[in-house]
Structures are given as C-alpha cells and as structure tokens.
C-alpha cells in the first residue's frame, strides 16, 4: 500500500483551519518559489544542497497547503490562478493543486495553462513531484488546444520529457511562444527528426539562435557544432563555451589567446573553466588579480583544479574582518529592503587571493598532465561529470557540464538541469552509464 497521498479520514472543514497559518504557508511558498528559481543560477548551491534547502522548504509549505484540504484549494489556491497575481504566487498555487490527491484540482492547473499564465504554470508543471505527472503531462499535451501548448511544451522541456507528436504541429505554429517552446522541447524527442530545425535556427540571428544552438549541441548535431565555431569567432558566449567543451587542443589554445581581447574576455574566462587543462589554468592565472574578471577567473580555476569555496585561505572575503552587526537604528526599513532588486547571483562569487592561488598552482601544477581536461581536480570522464552533477559543481555551472555530457553521449546521458533538484538526483542515480565515451576528444573525433 502506498500512503504517500494518504489524507486524514476527516479532512479539515473550513472552520477547522487556522487561516492565518494557511496564509503563511502560501506566502512562504511564494517566496521560496522565487528563491528556488534563483538557485538554478546560483554559484553557492550544488544540486544536493538545493534539494535539501530551498526545495525541501518549499515543499514543506506546499504540503501545508495540500493538508489544508478542499477549503484552501477552493478559496485560496484556485483563485490565485489569475493573470493579475504575482507569477511566483501562481506557481506556488499551481504546485499545491497539482500535489493535491484530487485530480480535479490538477486538471484545473492544466486548464489554466493559457498564454497569460504560461510561464508560472510551466514552472509548476516542471517542479511537480507526483509520480504520475509525466504521463499526465504527455496525455494533456496530446489533447490540449494550441493556447496551452507553450506551457505544456516548456514543462516537457524542463522535465526532459518526450513531447510526442504534438511537437511537429507546434513547429508549424505561427505563434512565437509556441515555436520557442517547441524548440526547447525538441532535444528530448526520441528521434533526430528535428535536428535540422535546430541547426537552421542556430545559424540565424534571431533570439532563438542560442537556444537552438544549445539544443543542437545536446544531441551532437554537426550543424550546431559548425555554427558554434563560427559564433565563437565573433566572441559569442555560447560559441566560446562550445569550443571549450568540444574543441580540439588548437581550439583551446585559440581560446587562451583571446584572453587579452577585452570585449571577449569575460566569456573566454568562463569558457576556459570548462576546457579544464593545465595550460588553461596557466592562461587564467594572471587574470585572478584583474578586478573586472577576478571572480570569474577564480571560479574557473577552482572548477578545474578542485579548490572549493570552503577553503578559506583562497578567498579574500574569508580574510576580511567581519563587519560589526548593525544596531537597530541602522536596520533598513522592511519596505526599502523589499523594494531592492534581487541581487545578481554572480555577486556571491568569491574573490580569489591571486597570490595564494599562484603559490598553490606552482606547488601543484605537476599533478596535472599536459593536455588532459580536468573537472574539480579529476581527469574528466563521464563518471566524474555525473558525480559532479550530483554534488560539487555549482547550480550555475552544472547546466554546462550536463550539456556536454548529453552531447557526448548523443542524448543518452542527458540530465534536465532545470528540473526539481531532488528529481534530478533521482534521475542521475538511475541514469545508465554509456561506455566508450572519451571526454578528452574533440567533436570530430567522436561523432
């Protein structure tokens, strides 16, 4: 007997609820939805930390909403599926309705997948944990009217789910949102029927070019690879990353030589962190002291050699004296605090102590074989990449590690990195290992 959807025999009636507690569950769920969304680009979290932190907290409140029963669903959650509500509130409400054992509430979420609510509903469908959600989503997509396609296709894309025959129709749509959603979902189709669309779009200049390029690389499209090389020449971030991940030694050397180019530097530094060779670390070392890119360079070098942010001696912030705690009179008023934009996740990157890095590198360089790619101090191979997707590599970097692994295995070891972290971890644990994959080789040598 599976009790995971067990509800008490006498669910609470309206008057049984402590409504301000239920409202707090909702408010906190809304806040944590935003937080969880932000952590997908956060350099401070890895997948396990994210699952145990914001995700677990979010779902504790979602559980509070589910257990508040029918009255909560009718009076609080269903009315929140409204275009006038905050997107994060819509997502939180939809999540709670999807987790509710009464299918009618979940059906309502699918019905709310209109163009106005497409993004928050797609987010909820992407994060819902109920085991039957994948099948439910595919069935509903098969029956859905065109206005619902963008949300449902985006949810398929985030869940790494085959969108089925609806994909072909969506690609024929004249609606930009539908087309973009189809593009995002295409890499998860079991056939290569859509690769030519990805290639064509990647070669263009529209807003869809980069998503198409990355989708193509994820399924090891030659066309996408050729486009990536062209884009790299003009300093495009995705192209430069592709060169670092899939290029040959000459391409990697070319990347190192681009570092003096100020216009390209930021993207090149980021990309070299994925190239992973000792030569790349050599090239990056001078930039650890450069104010503009020091944090990025520190992150890149640390990612290659396996220095962690917990190793205080490497980071200047750890050595700075603690500022005194503010007195009550100095506290920012709550309203002012709430009015501030959410911090750029990159702001939480640490600043490397260039001298300490340099000393360490001098002492340890001999451990790193020339020409070999490393990830977190270990020679890069599928097992290491898989392990790092579980734990170690930050949320912001693991999208790229996963993308390379997917490309090199032609989609067989593909992890949807915007899926709920706990679900990602479960998928990674069950992921079949593909033999004969050499992550040291360049694109032309393995496709």
């Amino acid at each position: 007997m599976n009790w995971s959807s067990y509800l008490p025999p006498s669910p609470p009636a309206r008057d049984d609820l402590v409504w301000d507690v239920v409202e707090q569950h909702f408010d906190e769920a809304e806040f944590l939805t935003q937080w969880l969304q932000d952590t997908f680009e956060d350099p401070d979290y890895d997948a396990k930390e994210c699952a145990a932190g914001p995700e677990a907290r979010l779902f504790a409140h979602i559980e509070g909403l589910v257990l508040a029963g029918e009255a909560c669903a009718q009076e609080m959650l269903r009315p929140a599926l409204d275009p006038g509500a905050e997107p994060t509130r819509i997502t939180a409400a939809a999540l709670a309705l999807l987790e509710h054992p009464m299918a009618a509430h979940g059906d309502l979420v699918f019905e709310a997948a209109t163009p106005e609510l497409a993004r928050p509903i797609a987010c909820a469908l992407s994060w819902a944990r109920r085991p039957d959600l994948d099948a439910w989503l595919q069935t509903r997509l098969g029956r859905a009217e065109p206005p619902a396609w963008p949300a449902l296709l985006h949810a398929c894309a985030t869940r790494g789910l085959d969108p089925g025959p609806r994909l072909a129709e969506a690609f024929r749509s004249s609606e930009a949102e539908t087309f973009a959603a189809a593009l995002a979902a295409a890499r998860w189709a079991p056939t290569r029927d859509y690769v030519h669309i990805l290639d064509t779009l990647a070669g263009g200049e529209s807003d869809l070019a980069v998503p198409a390029l990355l989708g193509g690389l994820a399924v090891a499209s030659r066309g996408a690879w050729q486009t990536a090389q062209r884009r790299a020449q003009r300093g495009d971030a995705a192209g430069l990353w592709a060169l670092a991940a899939f290029g040959d030694p000459r391409a990697r050397d070319w990347l190192c030589e681009r570092l003096p180019d100020e216009a390209m530097r930021e993207h090149v530094v980021f990309a070299l962190g994925f190239s992973g060779r000792a030569q790349d670390v050599d090239a990056l070392m001078p930039w650890l002291a450069d104010e503009a890119v020091a944090k990025l360079a520190g992150e890149a070098v640390a990612n290659i050699v396996g220095i962690t942010t917990a190793q205080d001696e490497f980071w200047l912030e750890s050595k700075a004296p603690e500022p005194p705690p503010p007195g009550d009179e100095e506290l920012t008023p709550l309203e002012d605090d709430l009015a501030k934009p959410i911090d750029d996740p990159l702001a939480s990157l640490l600043t490397p102590d260039a001298e300490v890095f340099a000393r360490w590198w001098k002492d340890n360089r001999s451990r790193f074989a020339a020409g070999v790619r490393y990830l977190q101090g270990r020679s890069l191979e599928p097992g290491v990449a898989l392990e790092q997707l579980h734990r170690g590599t930050s949320m912001r970097r693991r999208h790229w590690v996963a993308l390379e692994l997917a490309g090199r295995t032609r989609g067989q070891m593909a992890c949807p990195t915007r899926l709920l972290p706990s679900l990602q971890i479960a998928r990674l644990s069950a992921m079949p290992r593909v033999g004969g994959i050499d992550m040291q080789r360049a694109f032309g040598q393995w496709v």
Binding site: Y6, P8, P9, S10, D20, H25, E28, G64
Partner: protein, 356 residues
C-alpha cells in the same frame, strides 16, 4: 522486536492548527504562532508572549479552555474507530498540580470530558487520568502498551491536554522566572496550550478497519529524575538517560539506529543540559544525537499534551512520507521528576521499514 502495538489514529490541536496533519505540517515548516497575550502582562508590565490558540476567547481559561482543546483532538482521533469505542479505554495526561490547576480541577475536567460528544461510547469505568505533566502522556503510552499486550484492553486511547494560559499559572511562571520575557529571562519558555490523542491497538485487533498502521511502538522507558528542576541539586540526566536507554534497548544496533528524535525541550537551560547528558550516555543508539526536533519552537510549551503530540507528529510524518528515518525516539520530562520515552518504528509512505 517490537510490542505489536500500533498507532491506529491520531488527533491534535495546537495554536498552529486544529487537525493533526495541519499541526504537523506547520511544525515541520517552521511556522510558529507566538503572540502577545491580549491582557496578561508580566512583572515588567510587558504583554506576555504565549502560544495561544486564537480561536478560543482569551478570557476563557482553566477547565473550559482545556475541554475545547480536548474535544477537537479527541473527536479527530476516535472518528475512524467510533464503532469500536465500547471496547476502548481512555487515559488522559494532565498538568502537574500548580497554581491554576489542582486535583479538583483535574477531576472536574475528566468528568466533563466524558460528557463531550467526542467521548460518547467510551465506558466511564475505563477512563483514567493522572496529573504528571509533560512526561505523563508517554508514561500513559507505556501503560497502554502493557494493557493491550496483556489483553486487558482491545483499544487504548492515550491523550494529553494542557493550557498554561490561566492567569494564576502565568503569574506563577513569572514568579519562578520560567516565563519568557524580553528583559531578563535566561532560562525560560513560552507558555502554550494544546491537546493530542492517539488510538493504540494490536494489529490483529484493528486489522478489520483497514486503516493504515504506519507506526509501531517498539519500546518504552520511564524513570524518575532525582535532581529536579528548580531545586539546588545538579541534574546530570540520570532519569532521562535511563528512560531513553530502556526505550531504545529493543533496537538491533547498529542496523536500527534512531534517525529522528522528537522531544519537549522548551528553552529552559535545565532541559538542554539534561538532554546533553542523556545524548552522551546513549549516543550509540542514534545516527546523530544532535538531530532532534523540539516543536515547542512552533507552539511553546504544551506541558501534558507533549507526549501524544510528539507521537502525532511522527505518525503524520510516516503517513505523508516525509519522515527521513524509520526509527524515532520521543522523550518528555516533567517538573516532578518523571521521565518517559518511546521508540517508534515507522513504515514511511507505505514502504517496508528498513535500516536507519
């Protein structure tokens, strides 16, 4: 291993919820409901912070207030077994005698409790109570296990009810320095209120109800602490250590280590230190003795309701599949020296019980 006694159903009411599952969901997600009492002030003239059930009128206190709390929780607990109530016994843990609550109050409470619709069908000769405070509920649970195993009862309902929100009680806490305030309290707690009931039975007796039985009581332990709080003696956790040791002695270690502990620690320094000694003495039975839940963070100190409330939290965690480990310890400590503990085996979300 185990007693064969299962928790069949639960009911609970506290400041954060009026149903067991809602209470558990709020505690799990860290929600609290501490408010300033509408009219009671402490010795500094500041409003007293309390874990008050705001659905009840603030001017209501004593037996009336406790009855309302008990009615909700008992009704919820017995709803699934109402047809079986004639063969059930009921034991209720009540506060230790203190200003605002004495033996006469206890008798009157029990008398009126039996007249509640929720208690209809329970044979008055099978109703008992004792005024042992925090540890009373788990002490009653240990007694119920024996009662059921011996066949003297087919079903036992174990509950606890308490409300510190009585003017005399609050003033007394203020005088003894146990009342939390923002000025000078260093070893104090936030007074709360609540009620919880657990229906217990042997699996074979209750099988026909087809209710999920996610929690088995594996072991219990009770002891007396000679070095009590508010005395000149120094507590080194002897009583609690023994209660926990006895409760966990049934576990096959190291395979069945305890992963989660629910306790009634309330912020008083004495209680923290007592726990520390017990943790040091019993560490071998635990995955991590520091991994504990003290839900007084959510609703304050709920005194005699603590034990059944903790059992209710563990039961909900198993039913809803969020319990992180299959082996759980509950423990509680009374001012009078009674210490009681119970080890529960959880079948989480219907999955077979495995290793901790």
């Amino acid at each position: 291993m185990g007693t064969g006694v299962h928790i069949v159903s639960i009911g609970a009411r506290a400041s954060v919820g009026h149903r067991a599952h809602n209470v558990a969901a709020a505690a799990r997600s860290g929600i609290n409901r501490f408010i300033e009492h509408p009219f009671m002030v402490d010795r500094y003239g500041d409003p007293i912070r309390v874990g008050m059930d705001v659905a009840l009128p603030p001017e209501q206190f004593g037996v009336d207030r406790m009855l309302t709390l008990a009615d909700t929780a008992l009704a919820e607990a017995v709803a699934p077994i109402r047809a079986e109530l004639a063969q059930a016994s009921l034991v209720v843990a009540l506060p230790e005698p203190r200003p605002g609550f004495d033996a006469q109050t206890a008798r009157r409470f029990i008398e009126l409790l039996q007249r509640l619709p929720a208690a209809a069908g329970i044979d008055s000769k099978r109703v008992s109570w004792f005024t042992s405070g925090h540890a009373g509920g788990l002490f009653a649970l240990a007694g119920a296990v024996e009662e059921l195993r011996s066949g003297r009862s087919q079903i036992c309902i174990v509950g606890g009810v308490d409300s510190y929100l009585h003017p005399d009680t609050l003033e007394w806490l203020d005088e003894t320095g146990q009342l939390h305030n923002l000025k000078d309290s260093r070893s104090s707690f936030i007074p709360g209120e609540g009620a919880a009931f657990c229906v217990l039975a042997l699996r074979r007796v209750i099988a026909s109800t087809r209710l999920p039985l996610p929690v088995e009581i594996l072991g219990t332990g009770t002891a007396n602490e000679p070095n009590r709080i508010k005395t000149e003696t120094i507590c080194i956790g002897e009583g609690l250590s023994k209660a926990v040791r006895d409760a966990t002695s049934v576990l096959e270690l190291p395979a069945q280590k305890v992963g989660t502990t629910y306790c009634d620690m309330n912020g008083e320094r004495y209680r923290n230190e007592e726990f520390m000694f017990s943790a040091l003495r019993n560490y071998g039975a635990f995955v991590d003795t520091n991994r504990f839940e003290a839900p007084a963070d959510s609703w304050g100190d709920i005194g005699a309701a603590s034990g059944p409330m903790l059992a209710s939290l563990a039961t909900t965690s198993a039913l809803r599949g969020w319990a992180p480990h299959p082996y759980v310890v509950l423990w509680t400590s009374s001012e009078g020296g009674l210490r009681s503990a119970a080890t529960l085996g959880l079948t989480i979300g219907g999955a077979p019980r495995g290793r901790a």
